[in-house]
Symmetry: C2
Subunit: 132 residues, 2 copies
Amino acid sequence: MGVKINKKVEDIIKEIKFDDRGLVPAIAQDVKTKEVLMLAYMNRESIEKTFQEGVVYYYSRSREKLWKKGETSGNIQKLKGFYYDCDKDSILLIVEQVGVACHTGNYSCFFNKVLETKYKNINIIEELYSLL
Amino acid sequence: MGVKINKKVEDIIKEIKFDDRGLVPAIAQDVKTKEVLMLAYMNRESIEKTFQEGVVYYYSRSREKLWKKGETSGNIQKLKGFYYDCDKDSILLIVEQVGVACHTGNYSCFFNKVLETKYKNINIIEELYSLL
């Protein structure tokens, strides 16, 4: 198992700026739909385990321990991409979500709508015409 | 200006769980490409200003003040969607990005690649066949 990456995990961990609790926020985005699924926190150990096993581990702030996403529900997240930002203090995980991401049964944790988006989806017919 | 929403801003602010600094992490996602652009923090005032003006305000932790995204660069973010998560402690903003999101000149702040994703884009021809 595990994933092949372009740096040593220890070097990635050295670069990332963890907060005073030793945590960094991590966004999980769906590799197929690009939907944002959740935001959780990672510590050094959870990043190591994520690369070792190829499935996402977070750090649970409420339970104060390492948390393998989907450990009890089976709704694991297979790691497909790993990015960090310009300030090196947040992470973007691209994942293949098994089942649903949210413990409520929703696919994404961001189901509370205040202002709902009409995504500007590319119209398949228009795109086809552009190919002719 | 401003945006029409399905709740009073004061009620949204009451629902959201701010941390001990009065902040909540907010993810900005592009309305057209669905690319994740950045992660920053909002306080109560920045949420109010965002709905009032229809463009995104954050709270700058380094400058310790309200921060209108793109105020100096012109690279503003027009608000197109606003969601919060199951735990009510993180926000997802859907935005129309003017120019680029990152101060480095990159479109997204998440340009540091450790493991690069090959997005599973829907094949236009396959989708067309499925419609026949």
